[in-house]
């Protein structure tokens, strides 16, 4: 075959332009996709007043209502014992609650669950230590419905005035990768709220 070694320093501009014209927009679109979660259906509550609730505490010490927590930013975590990623998320929340406990209030709301099973689960997860924040029992799932919980875990960030500022769908998971580390993400959101 004839080896075309002719010194023709030709650049095929049409090929170059068409090629870049097709690939660069594609790359741009894919890049933008990384900043959106397709499973996130939006949070209709954002910047709205958080739905009120008064729920019994798991530890039996009466009830707790959102009004009682006004004045401090409140982090509400919906979870359940049957949820797969909750055991991994729990230590992250525990640690954050111990660290930021005097500035913010963490509340766990157990969704579709039973108190005996919740107590046993927490006992095991905390290795016998007392929980760093209270867990409430959402009888009939009414509070979860009011907040628009799609699945567990979901975490709502309510500011001191009782306005929903942020919602996290899915768990805060620890990871060695800083871009995926839920601990850092939680810290960042807390930082924005304080």
């Amino acid at each position: 075959m004839n080896v075309a070694q002719t010194p023709k320093p030709a650049i095929s501009w049409p090929a170059l332009l068409v090629g870049l014209g097709l690939t660069l927009p594609l790359l741009g679109i894919l890049l933008s996709g990384l900043f959106h979660d397709p499973h996130d259906l939006g949070n209709p509550l954002e910047d709205e007043t958080a739905p009120r609730f008064t729920l019994p505490r798991l530890d039996g010490q009466g009830t707790l209502s959102l009004e009682q927590l006004r004045g401090k930013p409140t982090i509400i975590n919906f979870w359940a014992t049957w949820c797969q990623s909750c055991p991994l998320e729990h230590p992250v929340l525990e640690q954050a609650a111990r660290e930021f406990g005097d500035q913010v209030q963490f509340v766990g709301i157990a969704y579709e669950d039973k108190s005996e099973r919740l107590s046993a689960w927490l006992q095991r997860a905390n290795r016998g230590r007392p929980s760093a924040y209270p867990t409430l029992i959402d009888v009939g799932g009414k509070v979860a419905v009011a907040y628009g919980v799609y699945g567990v875990p979901e975490t709502y960030f309510v500011d001191a005035q009782g306005t929903v500022k942020h919602k996290k769908t899915g768990p805060f998971l620890p990871s060695a990768d800083p871009t995926a580390d839920g601990r850092l993400e939680l810290r960042r959101i807390l930082g924005e709220m304080l």
Partner: protein, 187 residues
């Protein structure tokens, strides 16, 4: 494999696979690589044809996409759109409102309301409620809203699964609880 007498015969497709029939039938056919040059004119023709084809395809694709979009909306967003939303393909995501489910098994007719904190929309479906369907559950219904304000849906999905799991981490199977929910939530 090949016997000498077969080798001696020089059928042009022996060794050069996928030959045309003509060559097969007449071994002495011209070598195909002998098209007559029609270069300049041909190239221009090809270029113009390509541009026309690419342009018309792009036009078709863009037009086609615009017509077949399915929007994800919440009840408030759908209500806010007012008349603009009539007939558009929508995936409506919200909660099944309390005391709104009317299910008539004989006609396979299901009516309920989907709400978020701001709005409530009447939804009609001619399908069996899925296993987990009940008040207060998150649903996505696909269909469109009519001028009567009723959302007719072809597809009803319950959206209440715990789908945000990290790969590979399963908690121990909690059979008691699961079998219980299987019993509790039958419609």
């Amino acid at each position: 494999m090949t016997r000498p007498d077969e080798q001696a015969e020089t059928l042009p497709w022996a060794g050069a696979p996928v030959a045309s029939q003509e060559q097969f039938l007449s071994p002495e056919a011209d070598h195909p690589n002998q098209g007559k040059p029609a270069q300049g004119k041909g190239k221009l023709f090809v270029a113009v044809a390509l541009i026309v084809a690419a342009a018309s395809l792009t036009w078709l694709v863009v037009g086609g996409v615009e017509q077949n979009l399915v929007y994800y909306l919440t009840p408030s967003e759908l209500t806010a759109k007012g008349d603009d939303a009539i007939g558009a393909n929508v995936r409506l995501g919200g909660m099944v409102a309390k005391d709104s489910i009317r299910w008539r098994p004989e006609e396979t007719e299901l009516k309920f309301k989907v709400k978020d904190h701001g709005a409530e929309i009447e939804v009609h479906a001619s399908s069996i409620p899925p296993e987990m369907f009940r008040e207060g559950i998150g649903v996505i219904v696909e269909g469109s809203i009519g001028s009567d304000g009723i959302f007719q849906t072809r597809r009803l999905m319950v959206r209440h699964s715990n789908e945000y799991k990290a790969p590979g981490d399963q908690e121990t199977v909690d059979l008691d609880y699961m079998s219980q929910t299987l019993e509790d939530n039958g419609t």
